[in-house]
């Protein structure tokens, strides 16, 4: 009896330690983002302070008050870039990937498997291998520092993800319904659009959300293939931290703004995350 109680207590302590380690950094930076510089520099650090929205106000208006005057920033441009790049990359991947996923799931054809695995192997190749030549090519053909160029390269992450998850969903749906609909005299295209896609819709939505998160979190593509005009928050935040004269609370607010969209989406789509993270190998 005593031993069982001790065991329970140890278990609870372990749970608290785990929660503390994994959640504390997010909570602390979140808290910092509402602090003035004076509160942040106070020692010992204290969780009791009067919250201020000035850090966010400064970031969103682009006018940062510093000790020596006002500093203009364009962090909102980085936020906008993140949205444009991630959303476009996912839409393109869905248009390219869903038909291909259907083909791989429904037909056995030469090249099909080879292609599916080539795409998968891209996921595991070092990105700089491709980025090194692309940086030189892009400058020659005018794709350097453009959304189009970046969205195309983003397919390296989003396409394999969508292809393999959606393929799994198509494989799980019995083709019998499609056969029956086909025997009624409907065209192949109509069957694909009216039967197959609606049935796989939850999988397609989940794959799209995850691909959006991974595209949003990408860092190295835009670091190498773009200037600040097209760079997303991940790269923008680094420039922000190393820039001088920016107050710590503003940096914290910038980090919070860069993670809020993905964290919200992740909580919303958490049911599908296990399957997505393992590229369809494990079901949650």
């Amino acid at each position: 009896m005593n031993k069982a109680l001790l065991f329970k207590l140890l278990r609870a302590l372990a749970l608290i330690a785990v929660a503390l380690f994994f959640l504390f950094p997010i909570l602390w930076v979140f808290m910092m983002s509402f602090m003035t510089n004076v509160d942040i520099l106070r020692s010992p650090p204290s969780p009791i302070f009067t919250p201020t929205l000035d850090n966010y106000r400064g970031l969103l208006t682009g006018q940062l008050a510093t000790g020596t005057g006002t500093l203009t920033t364009d962090y909102t441009t980085n936020l906008f870039n993140s949205f444009v790049l991630s959303a476009s990359a996912v839409i393109l991947s869905l248009l390219l990937g869903v038909p291909a996923a259907y083909a791989f799931a429904r037909f056995k054809f030469r090249l099909g498997e080879d292609m599916a695995f080539t795409l998968l192997s891209f996921r595991f190749a070092p990105p700089i291998l491709v980025l090194l030549p692309l940086q030189l090519y892009f400058q020659e053909i005018g794709l350097y520092d453009t959304y189009v160029g970046l969205v195309w390269v983003y397919q390296l992450i989003t396409l394999p993800l969508i292809l393999w998850i959606v393929r799994g969903y198509f494989e799980d749906i019995s083709p019998d319904i499609e056969h029956a609909y086909r025997l009624d005299g409907h065209s192949w295209l109509k069957t694909f659009l009216k039967i197959a896609i609606p049935l796989a819709r939850p999988g397609i939505a989940a794959a799209g959300l995850l691909a959006f998160i991974f595209a949003w979190n990408n860092f190295v593509f835009a670091l190498i293939l773009g200037s600040s005009a097209v760079q997303p928050v991940t790269v923008g935040a680094l420039a922000f931290v190393t820039a001088s004269g920016i107050q710590y609370g503003v940096i914290a607010a910038a980090l919070v703004l860069s993670v809020v969209p993905t964290l919200t989406l992740a909580l919303y789509a958490q049911r599908y995350l296990v399957e997505g993270l393992s590229l369809g190998a494990v079901k949650g």
């Binding site: 785990v18 291998l129 393992s278």
Partner: protein
């Protein structure tokens, strides 16, 4: 009457033949756009192979020449390269090892269905969904010597000038810590799904027979969980050996050359020293390593995938 039937039947045959011919082309047609993107990515890959065989420095364009394996030979005789190899292996070994131990322990802790455990497994997703580059910056704020809460706490424990990522002695520890914070949940989530997918009979039988818990863990749980453990560690190894975001965003490979892992070193060679040939050779070596690892990984991954889809 019978004539129209025959004509109809003939029409039917013709149309199925036509549709069969179309069926044969359909999959190619459907996957063609994705294939074109594939080829578009393979072109720069082969260009990189070519660069790696060239003396190619953007600062000295007129000295550009094909030198066979010159870049590779230079690398193999350069202590800086072996430094890169050593750090990359240390980083990979430490991150995967630590995360596997923690990840497995946490998965076992959360195994039983209970609302607290379920809530925890959802909250654990959060660090995993923070961009690794941003995670580094968060930890950089927390380890700032002037106001960082961790610097303060470690100072109170008797290490007033711990230094974190700015000290060569603790830089590796710091980035491994950030990597662990981000990616341990990945292993936990995968192993948790694995644990919950295990068949119950062996555990029930063991309980009936009064088999000790340690025996159950080492002889039943661990072997049955092995495919998941293997997949998760190979997955993490593949990402870890090419880690860039966390390290670059934390220290740009510094202090000095303390954290110049493969991709960081390749980045610096190309974009700080304009040495394209040498950088390409460096990533080609990394690619060979990841390619070998990924073939093992994909085999393991396919087994799990077939299993999850009820074909195994």
């Amino acid at each position: 009457m019978s004539g129209t039937l025959i004509v109809n039947a003939a029409r039917g045959v013709a149309s199925t033949q036509r549709s069969r011919a179309r069926q044969r082309w359909l999959p190619y047609l459907l996957s063609l756009p994705a294939l074109l993107v594939c080829i578009g990515i393979l072109i720069p890959f082969f260009t990189a192979v070519w660069y790696s065989l060239e003396r190619y420095n953007l600062s000295f364009p007129d000295q550009r020449a094909f030198i066979w394996f010159g870049n590779y030979l230079n690398l193999f005789t350069d202590p800086a390269f072996w430094n890169t190899v050593r750090i990359s292996l240390a980083y990979t070994g430490l991150t995967v090892g630590v995360q596997l131990l923690f990840g497995l322990a946490i998965a076992l802790l959360l195994q039983r269905r209970h609302w607290i455990n379920d809530l925890m497994s959802v909250l654990l997703i959060l660090p995993l969904m923070v961009a690794p580059a941003i995670a580094s910056l968060m930890w950089k704020l927390m380890t700032n010597p002037n106001f960082g809460v961790l610097s303060y706490l470690v100072g109170r424990l008797g290490f007033p000038d711990f230094g974190w990522s700015s000290n060569p002695n603790s830089a590796l520890f710091t980035v491994v810590l950030v990597d662990t914070w981000v990616y341990t949940p990945f292993i936990t989530i995968l192993l948790l799904a694995g644990l919950r997918a295990l068949p119950r009979q062996p555990f029930e039988a063991a309980e009936l027979d009064g088999v000790p818990a340690s025996f159950v863990f080492f002889r039943i749980t661990l072997p049955m969980l092995m495919p998941y453990i293997l997949t998760a560690s190979l997955f993490r190894m593949l990402d870890s050996i090419q880690q860039f975001d966390i390290i670059y965003s934390m220290t740009q490979g510094g202090p000095g050359d303390t954290l110049t892992v493969f991709q960081v070193q390749a980045y610096l060679e190309a974009f700080s020293f304009s040495n394209i040939g040498r950088s390409a050779a460096l990533v080609m070596i990394l690619w060979a390593i990841t390619y070998a690892l990924s073939t093992v990984f994909i085999k393991q991954w396919l087994k799990l995938r077939a299993n999850a889809r009820g074909q195994g």
